[in-house]
Amino acid sequence: MVKVQVWGSLKSALEGADEIELDAASIREVLDQLSDRYPAMDQAIKRGVSVSVDGRMYANSIMVPLQPDSEVFVLPKLVGG
Amino acid sequence: MFQIHVSTSINGDDTEFSCEADETLLDVLRDRLGLTGSKEGCGTGDCGACSVIVDGRLVCSCLMLGAEAQGREIETIEGMANGSELHPLQQKFLDHAALQCGVCTPGFLVAAKSLLERNDNPTEEEVRYWLAGNLCRCTGYDKIVRAVLDTAKEMRKSPKTKKTAAKKRVKA
């Protein structure tokens, strides 16, 4: 199972859970499941998120494959100067 | 529109143009003569990107009317190299990576040339104060100051370079 955490503001969207476990093989599957299960997450994901997988940041890639023990962190969409 | 007819010399070339009374020399250079090497960064004499030399004196072309060019000798960045031979400052700016975006570079080169024509052995402080009217936002000035000091050193070593670079075109 993939461990998924979200940034602080969205913790309430996960209905109080600090971290949840999902059966997902890619970032896309993680985001799809979050959207399906948590309406508040769905809104945030539609506005754009960046995802860190095992310490590496993915700005907007969703096809990234996950290992069964991957740690996934969902963050606001990043911009730069 | 009422136009003023002006005869002048630009980089050694006799040049005539017509302009309106409120046009600056910078407007004339860029929009009427196609000499877009001089840049407008502020239009108020605060950034030096439009620096040119008029009768041997460094000025902001945005703070001079086109009409005032009558009978003057004007040098711009376009006249700095002698054909394919770069002025030593131009070469040193390249060697020292003294430019990033490059939009302030023409102004710095013209201003630095004016400095070295007056003072062939400036201190770092003199370079910094002379160039204080030329704003650069990319480099933090470090490599620009080094390039100017290094050019001065090289020009002192070989006065020949200096002469070649300073050679004026014979008027037609």
């Binding site: - | 239009g43 004499g45 004196r57 000025v59 009409a67 005032e68 009217g133």
Partner: protein, 296 residues
């Protein structure tokens, strides 16, 4: 294209004589501006603060382009740039404070064009060269339809942007006296950067010492702390009769701070200007004293 607004396009004039310039100025319609260095005028035009109908370029009038010296002192033509002033060895030797003040106006590029007469006519309380001219006892030589007149620089400005010039009048030259013996002048200003700023506060000091180093005459001026540059007699009196020692300098600083009646604006606060007016006057007085003693 001016059909709609009805505005007549700007006219540029470059008279060759003072007489022509005065005639043009007296007879022109609409708003007429003198163009010397242009470093204020072109900025005002660019930013929409000034929309003249006529511009009279005075740089073709040869007497206005010269620095001359007779037995009574120096005459600096109104079209002489501050760079030219810096290059004039005699002027620099006599009035280093005035020359240095002129050399503080803007960048190298601006100094190639800017003039102290223009700096004066612009009538900004923060003009760098004005306190220095006031301290040195400079006068403006004014030419108009009725002839010449001379006005002390400290009486030239009536308020921000306002001068004593009447219709048809222009400044022909700035006159500086011959420097009396054992006299030194200095001007200092405060700006947040090292260059390119308008003075937040400025202070000019000119002192004459006797052979024992005691001050016999002093003029102290302050810039950017009132609607016009101030010549402060009380501050000057703190120096007279002293050797400009620490107590005298402290009294000078206190007098200058007391004389300052500045405003808060984007360049500095009231209390900052009041305090720094004293600091600068003190520092300028030391330089002026050392110059009078021939130390620098």
């Amino acid at each position: 294209m001016n059909v709609i607004s009805g505005r007549i396009p700007l006219q540029y004039h470059a008279p060759a004589t003072l007489k022509d310039a005065v005639n043009l100025l007296a007879n022109s319609k609409g708003k007429t501006q003198i163009l010397a260095g242009g470093t204020d005028l072109l900025v005002r035009m660019r930013t929409g603060f000034s929309e003249p109908d006529n511009i009279i370029d005075v740089k073709h009038i040869s007497p206005m382009c010269k620095i001359s010296r007779d037995g009574k002192g120096f005459s600096i033509g109104a079209a002489v740039s501050s760079a030219e002033m810096s290059e004039n060895a005699a002027l620099l030797k006599a009035w280093p404070g005035v020359v240095e003040a002129a050399a503080l106006i803007g960048s190298t590029q601006v100094q190639g064009r800017a003039t102290i007469a223009g700096n004066l006519c612009n009538a900004s309380p923060a003009a760098d060269s004005v306190p220095a001219m006031v301290a040195a006892g400079a006068r403006a030589l004014i030419r108009g339809p009725k002839g010449k007149r001379k006005v002390a620089v400290e009486k030239f400005c009536k308020g921000p942007g306002k001068t004593v010039l009447k219709k048809g009048e222009l400044v022909e030259a700035i006159l500086l006296p011959e420097k009396p013996a054992r006299t030194g002048d200095a001007y200092l200003r405060f700006i947040p950067r090292t260059e390119m700023d308008i003075a937040v506060v400025g202070a000019g000091v000119c002192v004459t010492l006797d052979s024992k180093g005691v001050c016999t005459a002093a003029r102290v001026s302050l810039g950017a702390i009132a609607p016009t540059v101030l010549l402060d007699a009380r501050a000057a009196r703190t120096l007279v009769g002293t050797s400009l020692d620490d107590p005298a300098l402290d009294a000078l600083a206190a007098a200058c701070s007391a004389a300052a009646r500045p405003i808060d604006d984007k360049r500095g606060t009231k209390e900052f200007r009041i305090h720094v007016a004293g600091v600068l006057a003190r520092r300028a007085a030391i330089i002026a004293r050392d110059r009078a003693l021939g130390k620098s």
